[in-house]
Symmetry: C2
Subunit: 313 residues, 2 copies
Amino acid sequence: MKVNIFLHESFSSMAEIIDGKAVAAQIGEEIRRDIEEFVKKGNRTPHLTAILVGEDPASQIYVNNKMKTATTVGITSCTKSLPADISEKELLDVIDELNNDPNVDGILVQLPVPEHINERNVCNAVAREKDVDGFSVYNVGRMSLDMDSLIPATPLGVIELMKRSNIETFGKNAVVVGRSKNVGMPIAMLMHADGRNETKGLDATITICHRFTPPKELAKYCSMADIIITATGVPGLITKEMVKPGACVIDVGITRITDPNTGKAKLVGDVDFEEVRQVAGWITPVPGGVGPMTVAMLMHNTFKAAKNLAKCE
Amino acid sequence: MKVNIFLHESFSSMAEIIDGKAVAAQIGEEIRRDIEEFVKKGNRTPHLTAILVGEDPASQIYVNNKMKTATTVGITSCTKSLPADISEKELLDVIDELNNDPNVDGILVQLPVPEHINERNVCNAVAREKDVDGFSVYNVGRMSLDMDSLIPATPLGVIELMKRSNIETFGKNAVVVGRSKNVGMPIAMLMHADGRNETKGLDATITICHRFTPPKELAKYCSMADIIITATGVPGLITKEMVKPGACVIDVGITRITDPNTGKAKLVGDVDFEEVRQVAGWITPVPGGVGPMTVAMLMHNTFKAAKNLAKCE
């Protein structure tokens, strides 16, 4: 107990805010330089094609952001907008065409797809070597076996953000809150895996909490953790009392709420930021934390796919 | 603290020993009846082929055990013994032949293979629908995504043993000690996954500990756990002090040691059985716990493969 109080005081100067936007910009600049080099050597400029089904405004914003960033790093891109009532078969045909197009390196189907289309079939239809979202059975299988693969951009962004912030993970206690297959599960896999293997796991002890973890137990696991990564979409889930003084808190949650004070819409994460920053050692803001990293790692994956495809030619 | 002492006393009558041999026999009998039915309907008798490379005595015993059990449940089987100096290419050719043999439902390559052969290439060479060990990238990927698949026999056996012993898992705290890709990782995946999905996950909160988890932290996580599953091969790793009174302790470890009292060889698990049984609520012995379940679930997988292949014909 005394130790905790002592630590708390020594951290009372507030958490270091991890600037995801700055780190992502740095990564983008590195990728831009590397692509410039790659193209100078006579390779084709990497190309990313996004598929957007329907007219969900949030999806449109996400895809636009990705495409804008692609341009800044030197990846050419194109968005195929398809009607919301397209059949699954027609969508799979479009994917197949892109799979066979030698000028396309990365294919990204913006999720969610309309309900009449099976998301899993869509994810698996993307050619494994162009699967820059890493959602196919093949890439998930390889990642789960610590083999080199295309890893989903958000988990990869979380890992990269920690690495570049010099967060110690080896033998540390980490909690992942949320078990989604696109975010929580891959993060847990990469966090606990062996650093000597191809995916260069972070060798942390990992606890996976989820919707059926009783709140009291969630609080207990979090309070033991050197690192908390939360990806639930439940605003305010992680409070000050749950965080060990000095811990690193990574907030993957992103929820649009109406600000009770201003009446305006705003984006918030899972973490009670203003309170938790008073005890944590490091904390990511929302927005400006993990979000920009996702886009940066998508660029990383597209360039990786392009390099792999260039080798095969 | 008082609660713990109270619980401890109420459990002082010693843990219930989970009889894996009896449960495995029960499962074997169910499979035998189902196969009888399957064959009566005009289907070919399920067939399992094992590949044994080299002359490791332990591997020979394992394979013999599996083949004997196959006979008792009505699965025909055959063991291909190959010389230790076979090349990887030649081994892959043998696997490919079996992949294309319409009379073979399950293919099992007994691990480990000699060092000059890449184990991963071998596991991936087995046709996904005949991969009764569930070690291929395809089946690992599907399992990790909670999709129906052939799941490695030991993890499946651990889950089945808990289900048939009526161990509560929903929202409970579980620890998996060991992160191997064939045992610890799949157990962690199935333990924490969503019960509403195809793999019918057990919805527990899961902590994965491993060689880099500091002993003090391992003890802490274990002492919070309602369920401890250990798969490390470190005899005596789990001691009485680490176990919460009433917890369920599943011992997947199996190590051959020399008994200090008798001077004879004997098999032991990771758990200090005599001590831990005094506090645990349930405990599996070694031998006679998880071991027989592995063999039973291999039969389950072979029959499952046979049913799937029969549907495709």
